[in-house]
Symmetry: C2
Subunit: 427 residues, 2 copies
């Protein structure tokens, strides 16, 4: 028979089991934080009807989308977890309790050319609060989640916060018509030179004085009161003023939620690329690093394509793949090893070894037989290859005495212990 | 704007969040059992190259398969977790340690007509042991997993065990040529009458005496020694005798693994439909019910399509959807409620309430604000609708005294407690 080369689809994420354990332990810690904050889990299908997923684009297929037909069904693999959330909320608007707090960890699909750090199938991890007339507390809760989730992984977060109403209101106040174009230019400040940005603004109709004011806005970061003192005279546009008062209220709520002041600050250069954000916006980093590990914000009309009811939403997202790359080496500890102790047994002691293994497992020690049917030398080789931290060598004497020789494979130290002593040692 | 009706793809599984919590807690208990038994987690892509997934069928597309093209890639959504395991093992045969014990919980896709209890997207939960020259201990470990996983859910399992070599050897011994056809007829015994089965056997070339012997085999169940006493004279075919000696060895290993004797028995009527099983086969039920919740067995050449190396495998599978239906009502307990206590606060106490909520969450109590911005009556209504077990009504007096009125929503009993007393009460 002709063999088929075993290959995994290019750009689809797959970890080796030793890493998968670390990844799942990380996810499990994050899930616990979400639930401790009263977010409920959701698990939507990997595929959605194309008319749902492509609603935003008016049905136009993005080249990144995986789309397929089956019978009468026209389906797409989901490219994010937000559209499925909007569909779920609209579909269940009469049975859900609002505000509805949900988190979801799931795979999403983007058929782009794979490159380092970019995947076609990868995990997203989102927490959102959805409701009619959401208070600013919801925004604060989402930001606080970075402190709690990263804290659960023994990392500190750093969140930069702004509000799109300030910039939108400022542009509105100076009579600009192409506000969303101006926001896109503004969002490029980190990547382009000041001169390039200024030229783009002027080409879009701003005066030199207005460009200067825009730069003044973009440079504000740090303490909120100092920022407000510097910018509040720039505009009396009501949206602008609302943005400022939203930030004040948010700051107050973060204080009462006891978020550590060193874990966040305000930074008016933040706008977030997505045009659907309409208020609070934020980006999260690992402390003392430029490694962005997520972001989010407030959007005014989450389910607009699917229902007349106007649901607001605020959500935070964690770039779980990037976060995993950051922590995986730190987390490769004994806690994450599957097998804690290997049992090396011989023909005469193999059946007894099965019972000893069962007793250890019942005591929540992850024990396994090493190299059944192999020679002693091969068993020891296998124990080394598997990097087992401990082994029990089970001869007939040990079986009779019920005291077992346990060997620390790193130090080579050996001792003879009773069952209870072994359990105590390995716990 | 024209609204799009929010619909989820038909036959794709989606739980409401209250049920999702129960489901995930169930999965988490099962995962812990697998890991306690030294199985490693694996998470393969939802899609595989079509040539991999369709290798068995020689590339012929089953009508149940979701297949799609993207650029040069021809992909299928996986229909089980076994082919991805075979691909993974063959792809990593030089880096994996064997025996390789892995478990996987993941979604699979079968585009059949949806009906009650049948889904197009649903979860499978598999544990397999793969290696060259696997000992019968591996088979015993897989069977024992039913006792441990169901035990973790406070259920008892009942496993019926056989070995296909007995039946295959018997047919071989009487000179039958069409053994796999005969096994398919044998597998239908539970569904058809004895007369119908006998006619089918005779049409396939068996004599009346051979049909009687076949029925004798099929009726054997219970204690292994009694079964062997009744059937061992039926054949001296080496495969038949190997099947009997495999069952003896398996029985011995189950005893030393301390599997409770009331949780399993031998039953020669079990064959399992799949032709790829070549030795041990088993089906698992919930005790005192005919509800099959899984099965599995031994296969001789797992990766035959992908590598020259001959890997044996033995695996068990849990029908997680069916199991969930069985346990979900029993598991809807407080443990699974997301919000343990709601805080009803007023304008004057709202900010303080945020701090109290944070302190409770830091103490691992899932606390949430109820109905921010609503009237007192509306807040109480919301607390009822959310079925919150406890609420704290936070007035200015409570805020000053630092003693809080906590109300049991089921009994309506109220008491005034300190923060520490509340934590102790809700833990």
């Amino acid at each position: 028979m002709k063999l088929i080369t075993p290959r995994k689809p290019q750009g689809f994420w797959e970890l080796m089991p030793e890493e998968e354990i670390v990844f799942e332990n990380m996810l499990s810690k994050i899930r616990k934080v979400f639930e401790n904050n009263c977010f409920m889990p959701l698990d939507t299908p990997v595929a959605e009807y194309s008319e749902i997923l492509l609603a935003k684009s008016g049905g136009e297929v993005d080249k990144e989308i995986y789309r397929f037909q089956k019978g009468n069904n026209d389906l797409c693999l989901r490219y994010d977890l937000t559209v499925p959330l909007a569909r779920f909320v609209a579909m269940n608007e009469n049975v859900l309790e609002f505000p509805f707090k949900r988190y979801q960890v799931g795979k999403v699909y983007r058929g782009e050319r794979p490159q380092k750090g970019r995947f076609r199938e990868f995990y997203q991890c989102d927490a959102d609060i959805v409701g009619e007339n959401l208070s600013i507390t919801a925004d604060a809760e989402c930001i606080k989640l970075y402190e709690d989730t990263l804290g659960a992984l023994n990392l500190n977060c750093y969140v930069k916060i702004s509000n799109r109403k300030i910039l939108a209101g400022f542009f509105e106040g100076i009579g600009a018509k192409n506000i969303s174009d101006l926001m896109i230019i503004y969002d490029k400040m980190a990547k382009l030179s000041e001169e390039e940005i200024a030229n783009m603004f002027i080409a879009s109709g701003l005066t030199v004085a207005q460009v200067d004011q825009t730069f003044l806005l973009a440079k504000q970061n740090g303490d909120l009161e100092a920022i407000i003192a510097k910018v509040e005279k720039l505009s009396d546009n009501p949206t602008f003023l609302e943005g400022i008062s939203d930030l004040k209220a948010l700051n107050e709520r973060l204080k009462y939620l006891k978020m550590d002041k060193k874990n966040y600050s305000f930074d008016l250069s933040i706008v977030r690329g997505h045009n659907y954000y309409t208020g609070t916006v934020f980006e999260a980093f690992i402390e003392n690093s430029n490694l962005a590990i997520g972001g989010g914000g407030r959007y005014d009309n989450l389910c607009g394509n699917f229902t007349e009811r106007k649901f607001q939403g605020v959500g935070m997202s964690i770039g779980i793949t990037r976060l995993f790359d950051e922590i995986k080496d730190k987390f490769k500890t004994d806690e994450n090893l599957v097998t804690q102790v290997g049992i090396v047994a011989f023909d005469e002691t193999m059946l007894f070894a099965l019972s000893l293994m069962t007793d250890l497992r019942n005591a929540k020690i992850r024990a396994d037989i090493v190299g059944e049917g192999k020679s002693f030398k091969a068993k020891m080789k296998e124990a080394n290859r598997r990097k087992l931290p401990y082994i029990i060598v089970l001869g007939e004497d040990e079986m009779k005495e019920k005291r077992y020789t346990i060997k620390d494979m790193r130090s080579s130290a050996q001792e003879k212990l009773s069952f209870d002593e072994i359990v105590k040692k390995l716990k």
